[in-house]
Symmetry: C2
Subunit: 470 residues, 2 copies
C-alpha cells in the first residue's frame, strides 16, 4: 500500500535517516508474529529510539489517517502484532535501554523494547528478577509482555505480568504522553488507567517505557516429576501441594502422548520404567534455613505421605541443576515437539480450578463422540486452571479439510468452555486469530464497552485496528 | 429533597416492603462515612437483598434521573460514600451472603455487603484467608474494599485488594449485570474491565458480588519492634529486611511522638528504657520447618548482624501471641490515639521508596520553615512507600484558622509530593475530600480520560456523582 507523499516527506525531514524502512525483507519480518496464519502486508516499518519520536510519529499518523501496529518481539500466538492491511509497523527494537536497577525500591525502569531475558540478566546480579518467565523470553520484549499481560510457567507463584508493572509510560494515538503511576506501590487517585493498557493488545495506547516491580530471586528450587494415573489424581495432588508448607513455584501437567512426543523429538529419557497416564512437574522453593544435608523435613514428610496414600504412581526429584533442566525440558519442550510431529491446531483455555476434572472428562467424551479422528495432546499450567489443548493433523490428511474440522471441533470445545464459565484464551490473547471465538467468553454488552473505551482513546480507529474487536 | 411520586410508587409495588426508608436516623447514619466533614443529606436509603433488585432499582433511577450513592461499611476516609446532595443511598447491609469456601480453587464468592472480618472468619477454618486486612475490618465490607482498592497493614506481603479479586459481578447504571472474569486465574480475552471498577469509588458501576482469591494462612509470625535513630536508619533496615531470607509480612514505622501518643492514651508500656527517634514494627513468617526450640537460624544470624552493625539502637521480639498483639497496638493504635489528643488533620501520601529519605528530610525542613506551628505525627506503611502525615490542632487554637492553615500547609506538602513523583492519596482514595488535591497527582489529560470513561458507563452522571471528578 502506498503511503502519502506528504507523510513520507515529514518522516524524511523530522526523523532520523534510518527511522523508516520499506525493504521487502524487513516488511516480511516485522509484519508478522509467531502465528504465521495471516500473510503480512505492512506498508513500512519505523524504528523510534525515544518516546518523543513515538509521540511525534503517532501525532503525524493521526493527522494523516495512517493506521499503526505496535510491535515488540513478535512472539505472540494470536496475531496481535500482525500488520495484514497496509499498516505501518511501529517496532520497539531500537528502544531497549534499561536504567540501573533500583535495589532499595526493587524496581527497574526500561524502554518497551528491552528483551525479557535481557531484563532478567540485568537484574540477576542484584539478587532480584522480573518474574515474568516463559519459553520465548529470549525474543519477547517487555512492552509486548505488558500489552498482552503475558503468563508463563511461574504464574502460580507470581501471577501474570500485570502484577509486576508499577508504572507505565504510554503514548496515545494523538501523541499525548501519559506517565501512569511512576514507581509507586500504592496510589489510589482515581481510575487506575495503567490497568487498561495492560492486556489490551496495543489497541488503546502504545507502551513506551515501564517501571517494573522486581522480586527477590528464589533461593534453592527443588524440581519433582510425578507419574499419575489420570487428571483426577493430578487435581488431588494439586490440592495437597497447595496446602503444603512450602512455596509452590510451578505445577505443570502433560499427558502420556505429550511426554512421548518430547522424549522422541528431543532424544530425552522417560524418567520412569513404566508408562503412566499423566505427569506433573512440580517446582518448590526449599526453605532457606534447611541444611543441605536434610533438605526440609516438612517436604520429606509430605512426600512420604504422597506415596503411602497411593496418590502418585511414581516420582523423581532432580539431584542437580542439570537434572532439573532436563525435567523442565519434558514440560517446556512439549509445544515445539508436537510441532515436529505434524501440523498442530492449538487452543489455550482456562477453567475455574474446581471445574477442571469435570471439564476434562467431558471434553474427552465430546472429542470421542464427535471428533474421534483427532488425538488430543493436553498439557499446561494446571495450577492456574490453564490447559493447552492441541490436536495434530494426521500425516495423510489434507490441510484444508483438517483446518475445517478443527474449526468445527473448536465450536464444540468453546461451548464446553462457556458451559464451565471458562476462558477461550487464558494467556495467548485475542489479536486477529481468536476474534470469532471471543463471543464464547465475553457478552455483547462487554463488547459494546470495549468499543466505548476505544472511542475514548482512538476515535479514528488507527491504533492496531481490527485486533480483539472491530 | 423530595423524591418523585412515580418513583416511590414503583418502589412500593415492585420491591419488598422494607426496601426503602426515609427515617431521619437512617438518613443520618447511612448518608455519611468516617470522614464526618460533609453533612449527610440523602433523600432515602434502599436495602436490596439480591442483584436482581439492584439491577431493577438502578434501571428505575436511570429512567427517573435519580442520583445514587453505593454504600458499604462507610469506613472510608475520603467521603467516597457520602450522600451530601439528596442522592438515594444504595446500602449493601442486607447483601452479605457468603458461599461455601472452594478449597480446591482457594476462592470464595460473596455478596458485596459481606463484612471483611466475617469473610476472614468464614475462611479461617479451611486454613485460608482473604489477605486484605486493616483496623476497620470489623465494619468495612468487601464491596467497599474492592471499590476503593483497599490497602492496609499487609500490603508489603500481599499487595492491594486489587490482587485478591478474581471475579466481579457489577451492575451498571442502566441496570445491566456484568459477570467479569468469574473464578478464573487467567483470562486474556480483551480489556480486563474488572480492573476499571476496582478503585474507582463506585463511579462507573456498582459491585454486587465478588469471587475472592484466598491465600494460605501464614504458619507462625514473629513480631519485632526496633528502635532507631532516624528515617535514614529505617530505610537501611528496610533494605536489609527485603534481602533477608524470610518472607516480610509487615514493615511499619512511627515517630517518637506517635509512640508517646499511643502509650499514654492506651496505657501501654514503652518497650524500651531509653527514648529513640523512630520505631519499626516488623513481622516475618517463620520458616515452617524450623523447630520451636531454634526459631530459624537464618533469622537469628540476621538479627545478630543488625546489632553488630549498629543499624538499630534497641529491639524486642514478642515472646507470646499476647506480646505480639501489644506490639501491634503500638502501631495500629496511633491514628486513634492522636485523635484523642486533639483534632488531627490527616494526609495519606506515597512516594517511590528510593525517594523516601530525601522527601522526609525536605518535608520536615519545609514545615519548620513555613509552618512551624504544627507538630508532625509521622507513621505508616513505610515498606510500601506510604506515609500518614498527621498534624494536630494545638489545644488553644480555634478550629477554622487551624483548618485554613492546614489547607496552606497541604499545598506545600502536595507540591513536594509532586516534585518526588508521589501520590497525594496512597490508600484513602479521592472521594469528595481530596478532589482539589487530585491535580498534584494526575494530569489534565488523565482527568479528561476519566470523564471519557464515565461517559461510557454513566452518561447521565447519576452514579456517585461528583466523587473523584466533576
Amino acid at each position: 500500500m502506498a503511503l502519502p507523499h506528504e507523510f513520507l516527506a515529514v518522516i524524511k525531514t523530522a526523523f532520523p535517516g534510518d527511522f523508516l524502512t520499506q525493504e521487502q525483507a524487513e516488511l516480511d519480518a516485522y509484519g508478522r508474529d509467531w502465528t504465521k496464519v495471516f500473510p503480512p502486508k505492512p506498508s513500512a516499518i519505523v524504528f523510534p529510539r525515544t518516546t518523543d519520536e513515538v509521540s511525534r510519529f503517532l501525532k503525524l499518523c493521526s493527522q494523516q489517517k495512517i493506521a499503526v501496529v505496535p510491535s515488540g518481539g513478535r512472539t505472540g500466538l494470536s496475531a496481535g502484532a500482525v500488520a495484514a492491511k497496509g499498516e505501518v509497523v511501529l517496532s520497539f527494537s531500537k528502544m531497549n535501554k534499561m536504567n540501573p536497577v533500583d535495589t532499595l525500591s526493587q524496581t527497574v525502569r526500561v524502554q518497551a523494547g528491552a528483551v525479557t531475558e535481557a531484563v532478567h540478566r540485568h537484574c540477576e546480579a542484584h539478587g532480584v528478577t522480573w518474574p515474568v518467565d516463559f519459553a520465548s523470553k529470549g525474543s519477547s520484549q517487555v512492552g509486548g509482555n505488558i500489552a498482552t499481560n503475558a503468563g508463563g510457567v511461574k504464574v502460580i507463584r507470581y501471577g501474570m505480568a500485570r502484577n509486576w508493572v508499577l508504572g507505565l509510560q504510554v503514548v496515545t494515538m494523538n501523541g499525548e504522553v501519559l506517565e501512569l503511576n511512576g514507581a509507586l506501590e500504592k496510589n489510589n487517585t482515581g481510575i487506575d488507567l495503567r490497568q487498561l493498557f495492560i492486556g489490551s493488545d496495543g489497541t488503546l495506547g502504545v507502551i513506551t517505557e515501564a517501571t517494573l516491580k522486581l522480586s527477590r530471586l528464589p533461593e534453592h528450587l527443588d524440581v519433582f516429576f510425578f507419574a499419575l494415573s489420570d487428571m483426577s489424581a493430578v487435581l488431588k495432588l494439586f490440592h495437597r501441594a497447595r496446602q503444603a508448607p512450602f512455596p509452590l513455584m510451578a505445577f505443570e501437567t502433560l499427558t502420556r502422548n505429550c511426554l512421548e512426543a518430547v522424549t522422541s523429538v528431543r532424544s530425552l529419557k522417560d524418567p520412569f520404567a513404566e508408562k503412566h497416564g499423566v505427569y506433573v512437574l512440580m517446582e518448590v522453593e526449599r526453605p532457606s534455613n534447611s541444611s543441605p544435608s536434610s533438605p526440609g523435613d516438612a517436604l520429606d514428610e509430605w512426600l512420604t505421605r504422597l506415596f503411602e496414600d497411593g496418590l502418585v504412581e511414581d516420582g523423581t526429584l532432580a539431584q542437580s541443576p542439570r537434572e532439573a533442566r532436563d525435567l523442565w525440558q519434558l514440560r517446556e519442550g512439549v509445544a515445539e515437539s508436537i510441532g515436529h510431529l505434524g501440523i498442530p491446531h492449538k487452543n489455550d483455555i482456562a477453567l475455574p480450578i474446581s471445574s477442571l476434572e469435570a471439564f476434562v472428562r467431558e471434553m474427552y467424551e465430546m472429542f470421542e463422540r464427535r471428533h474421534s479422528e483427532f488425538s488430543i495432546y493436553l498439557f499446561g499450567h494446571i495450577g492456574d486452571g490453564n490447559l493447552h489443548v492441541n490436536t495434530l493433523k494426521p500425516k495423510d490428511a489434507e490441510l484444508a479439510p483438517f483446518l475445517a474440522k478443527c474449526h468445527e471441533a473448536d465450536k464444540d470445545l468453546f461451548e464446553l468452555v462457556k458451559k464451565y464459565q471458562g476462558s477461550i484464551s487464558a494467556e495467548h490473547g485475542i489479536g486477529l486469530l481468536k476474534k470469532e471465538a471471543l463471543k464464547y467468553s465475553r457478552t455483547p454488552q462487554e463488547m459494546e464497552i470495549f468499543r466505548g473505551m476505544k472511542k475514548v482513546f482512538d476515535p479514528a480507529n488507527l491504533l492496531n485496528p481490527g485486533k480483539i474487536f472491530d
